[in-house]
């Protein structure tokens, strides 16, 4: 019945907040793509098409530093999650332009590769799926500390073919030592140019959790409200039961894999932002002209920010030797 009726609407203020964040995320990604195409960046990769999933995730995560907060092992399509947590969009522009002011990597890494210790966002890496091998470690520390924090690990569908995904299933469900890990798979049906249907025989990736006694669910990640409810329920379970949960969200990939595949809009995929905007119009929460105005304002703001960013200094070549070895134990000291 609930399938037919659709998810229960969220509180109106929350709907508007989610919309603004989804819109900002989409426009930020489009600005990043524009920067790449104009030569203000070497490579673009990001998450347009995952906003309806990533925004609720960022809003629901228990943000902060240390074991009492959630550890986030994200992937390079997670910018929306960071924005929902409160990240400044200009920092993504800085990483695209690889400026010295890029707070995530100081101009060392690609766009979308965030890292923020003060929010437990561990460095996002290009080798997809390694995060699934690392996540059990932070979860073990949280379980031992008897904290309320959980470990959230997210990747795409193609990468679940890697052994690290199996590692996470095994390590999270050791009998008597189950871990508070929320395993998220945003399934866009693609691995660069290869359709998942030609490589994966399992009906749902989430089904793989069942063999380990892990609770699983498959959801429509293009629906922000469904995502919000389901993530909340999954997080509550992991947070309270201190056991793993595997959630598969079916999402779109709206600008292809990366700039390497052209970064052009995919007209035949579901656009979660357009769908959500229509819902807000239907519910009388925002009018088309209000949304057009928002779009114009945000676009203008990002354009101005990108103009500032391209004037910011690039890292000096001599700084390559900085941060090879740590002089002190930042992660332990919490400094």
């Amino acid at each position: 019945m609930q399938q037919l009726a659709g998810p229960a609407p969220l509180d109106a203020a929350l709907q508007l907040k989610i919309h603004e964040l989804m819109l900002t995320t989409r426009l930020l990604e489009e600005r990043l793509i524009r920067m790449y195409k104009q030569g203000d960046g070497f490579f673009w990769i990001g998450g347009p098409g995952e906003e309806a999933f990533n925004i609720p995730l960022g809003l629901l995560a228990r943000k902060g530093q240390g074991l009492d907060h959630d550890y986030l092992h994200l992937h390079y399509r997670s910018t929306g999650t960071l924005l929902a947590m409160g990240a400044d969009p200009i920092d993504s522009l800085r990483q695209m332009k690889n400026t010295a002011t890029d707070p995530y990597s100081g101009g060392r890494n690609f766009a979308g590769h965030s890292s923020m210790r003060k929010w437990n966002v561990v460095p996002i890496t290009s080798p997809i799926e390694v995060q699934y091998s690392i996540a059990p470690g932070t979860a073990m520390a949280q379980k031992r500390a008897n904290s309320k924090g959980i470990t959230i690990v997210q990747g795409g569908d193609a990468g679940t073919a890697e052994g690290d995904f199996a590692t996470c299933l095994v390590w999270s469900s050791r009998p008597g030592a189950e871990l508070p890990v929320l395993m998220l798979v945003t399934n866009n049906g693609w691995g660069i140019s290869t359709p998942a249907s030609t490589q994966h025989g399992e009906k749902y990736i989430a089904d793989r959790g069942k063999a380990f006694g892990i609770r699983t669910k498959v959801i429509n990640g293009n629906d922000a409200e469904e995502t919000y409810h389901e993530l909340q329920e999954a997080m509550d379970y992991v947070r309270n039961e201190r056991k793993p949960f595997l959630l598969e969200a079916q999402v779109s990939r709206l600008y292809g894999h990366s700039s390497a595949s052209g970064a052009n809009f995919a007209k035949h995929e579901v656009d979660c932002l357009a769908d959500f905007e229509q819902k807000l119009i239907d519910r009388g929460l925002r009018t088309q002209s209000q949304m057009d105005e928002m779009r114009e304002q945000i676009t203008q703001g990002l354009l101005e920010a990108s103009r500032r960013v391209v004037e910011e200094p690039q890292p000096e070549g001599s700084t390559v030797w900085d941060h090879v070895f740590a002089p002190r134990n930042h992660v332990k000291e919490g400094l």
Partner: protein, 384 residues
């Protein structure tokens, strides 16, 4: 009179008690076995993992990022090859996050041939390990260094790989290699810290009171001073080189032996001083010879000291073979042997290339006091 494996165990105990070690883990690391080489018997934070090296290395990284102090073991380095990209990631985390996330963990693994371990228990890892920037890499050659380097590895805010030469794990401490506080009698120590055969469920170790003696990561150790040639090695070939030097002394050749101890960041100043003094250098290790760590040291030697050398610098390393065969003759034909070292040193000492060259050997002498393990230990101890 500890063996190297007992020394590692005592260091890990000190790590648990006083340096904040939270997890010692790997395949068969926890009770009842306490490690296939017994390195982790009786340790209160030791636990068993699934048979999954990527999981072990990944969990170590996650624990480290969550402010814990993990010591992970890969049972044999031969099984670490499927973790290379995670090791690379651990090494680049501090750098790629521009100094935000350091990754303090210890990864220990037995390396090398010498126990008739055949194709998958004889690999070396020094060539791989030194190709992982962001890691510190140490390799002890005796129990005291194993103890002190392990403590330094645990205390370091960076990832540190402790390569344990498996052929030396059961070799007892020699003169000057005893850990302060351990009983002189090896049987007494064994009774205290070796798990009994059979049912161990009620067993608890009695740890000797050993101090926080740190062998600093970096400085090499002068094993034996000499004037005619320098042998630079680490791990299993240190005692071999020492015996070779003692034998060649009877032929009138005075060979200096250096135990590098830290492969990265290595003590180039110390090496350079020794090579400039003896003007002949032989690098020895047992990893396969193509893109071997010793080749890097050779390259620096040639670039920086070429005019001062009396003999072409040499590398004695393992053959570039797909594996180390089980039969004794096969293993001996694959990795450096005592006789190879003797032959090479004799040949090198007969060479006097450039003896009348433009730059005489400098008078700088490598001070034994500055590099000797016990002095370094005493210094580190005094500072605490």
């Amino acid at each position: 009179m500890a063996t190297m494996v007992q020394a590692v165990r005592m260091a890990l105990h000190v790590g648990e008690e006083r340096l904040g070690v939270t997890d010692i883990f790997g395949e068969d690391v926890g009770p009842p076995l306490g490690g296939v080489f017994t390195a982790t018997q009786g340790l209160k934070t030791a636990w068993n993992t699934p048979l999954d090296e990527r999981g072990i290395v990944g969990a170590a990284m996650g624990l480290a990022l969550a402010g814990q102090c993990p010591v992970a073991e890969i049972q044999f380095c031969d099984y670490a090859f499927n973790t290379i990209d995670l090791l690379k990631l651990i090494g680049n985390t501090y750098w790629s996050s521009n100094g935000d996330w350091n990754c303090p963990l210890v990864l220990m693994t037995p390396v090398g041939a010498g126990i008739r371990g055949s194709i998958y228990h004889s690999h070396s890892f020094d060539a791989q390990a030194t190709r992982l920037p962001g890691w510190k890499v140490v390799m002890p050659s005796n129990p005291l260094d194993a103890y002190g380097l392990m403590l330094s590895a645990i205390a370091d805010p960076n990832p540190v790989m402790v390569l344990l030469p498996k052929a030396l794990l059961r070799v007892k401490a020699g003169p000057g290699e005893q850990i302060p506080g351990e009983p002189d009698d090896e049987r007494a120590l064994s009774k205290m810290i070796d798990a009994p055969v059979g049912d161990r469920s009620g067993w608890e170790p009695r740890w000797p009171d050993t101090p926080d003696l740190f062998v600093p990561i970096g400085p090499l150790r002068l094993v034996r001073p000499g004037t005619d040639a320098t042998v630079v090695t680490y791990g299993r070939h240190v005692p071999v080189a020492r015996r070779v030097a003692e034998d060649l002394a009877e032929e009138g050749l005075d060979i200096e032996v250096i135990d590098l101890r830290t492969l990265h960041p290595y003590d180039w100043d110390g090496l350079k001083a020794s090579i400039r003094r003896t003007r002949r250098v032989l690098f020895v290790n047992e990893d396969t010879e193509i893109t071997n760590f010793g080749e890097h040291l050779l390259r620096r030697t040639v670039e920086e000291l070429f005019d001062e050398l009396l003999a072409a610098p040499r590398l004695l390393a393992g053959k570039h073979l797909p594996g180390i065969g089980l039969a004794d003759n096969l293993e001996r034909a694959s990795v450096p042997q005592r006789e190879d070292m003797v032959d090479l040193l004799r040949a090198m000492c007969a060479e006097t290339r450039g003896a009348a060259g433009p730059r005489p050997a400098p008078a700088v002498r490598l001070s034994r006091e500055n590099t000797d393990a016990s002095a370094a230990l005493a210094l580190a101890y005094a500072r605490r």
